[in-house]
């Protein structure tokens, strides 16, 4: 497989509710699936690994070193690869060291790869330990414009717009963006779920 002009983005979303299924190998395998999904024929080493797994009675789980090696090979065939991991804090804590070490290895082997990770603030400590020296960004906070845009979009989707008092609508758009905070956005979300 060689696709030297390709820029590929592969994303995974971690979820507290899917803890049983999440391991470092399964997360990397999900990325690998996205990388090779458009590639025909499937790279030989992946097909071989599949055939081996099929021949085993219980169809063994993915082996981390094997998946990591296949992922590195696929990434190296691209011009650039962007790996996005959303909500890393929701990935099982017991498997995170394995995942960080794999990411360390991937980064070392693939200079063409960029990692985009989101998570709650405590995830910074782990990132500092495994991939020190990353650029400091301010914490993510919705801007006034973000809140205004979001509210306008939700109001537009109101199934009963004729019930909305115009003055109330104007107040919502004027006051709420000014009182913006993360916690506040959460309460707006649940409030809208109730009224809609």
């Amino acid at each position: 497989m060689s696709d030297r002009d390709s820029v590929v983005v592969a994303c995974v979303y971690c979820d507290f509710h899917a803890h049983k299924e999440q391991s470092a190998a399964s997360l990397l395998a999900s990325l690998l699936r996205q990388l090779v999904a458009g590639v025909e024929p499937i790279p030989g080493e992946i097909k071989k690994a599949f055939d081996r797994a099929k021949s085993e009675v219980d169809g063994r789980a993915h082996q981390l070193p094997e998946i990591c090696a296949m992922l590195i090979k696929s990434l190296l065939s691209l011009r650039r690869g962007f790996i996005c991991i959303d909500a890393l804090d929701e990935f099982p804590a017991k498997h995170r060291p394995d995942l960080w070490k794999s990411l360390q290895h991937i980064i070392k082997e693939c200079p063409n790869v960029r990692l985009f990770i989101t998570g709650r603030p405590h995830i910074r400590e782990e990132a500092k330990k495994y991939l020190p020296g990353y650029p400091n960004l301010p914490p993510v906070q919705p801007t006034k414009e973000d809140i205004g845009g979001y509210l306008a979009m939700r109001l537009k989707k109101d199934p009963d717009p004729y019930l909305m008092d115009k003055r109330l609508e104007a107040d919502i758009l004027r006051i709420i963006p000014d009182k913006v905070s993360g916690a506040y956005v959460k309460s707006i979300n649940s409030e809208f779920k109730v009224t809609n």
Partner: protein, 87 residues
């Protein structure tokens, strides 16, 4: 896509990030989180292919602030759409 290819992809990962990704994209308001794309840190990380640029961009924040809706690329590359369609 051949049956075998489908089986191999399924074996690799039954996880379906495409559905989640679609839901995130549909629920996203245009322009949200654009501040990130305007930072120098993002620009360097995203644009430069220099090995000296740190490969990690970490976006952190409390629950509900919109981290999931941040964009990690300025313009979605062509193959990205292809992937979204096929995975």
């Amino acid at each position: 896509m051949s049956d075998e290819t489908r089986q191999i992809l399924e074996w690799l990962s039954p996880m379906a990030p495409r559905e989640r990704h679609q839901a995130v994209r549909e629920g996203r308001v245009d322009g949200v989180g654009e501040w990130l794309l305007r930072t120098e840190e993002f620009d360097k990380w995203h644009t430069s292919e220099d090995r000296a640029v740190h490969p990690l961009l970490l976006c952190y924040g409390d629950p509900g602030v919109g981290k999931t809706h941040l964009r990690c690329v300025k313009v979605a590359p062509f193959k990205y759409w292809k992937l979204v369609k096929l995975t």
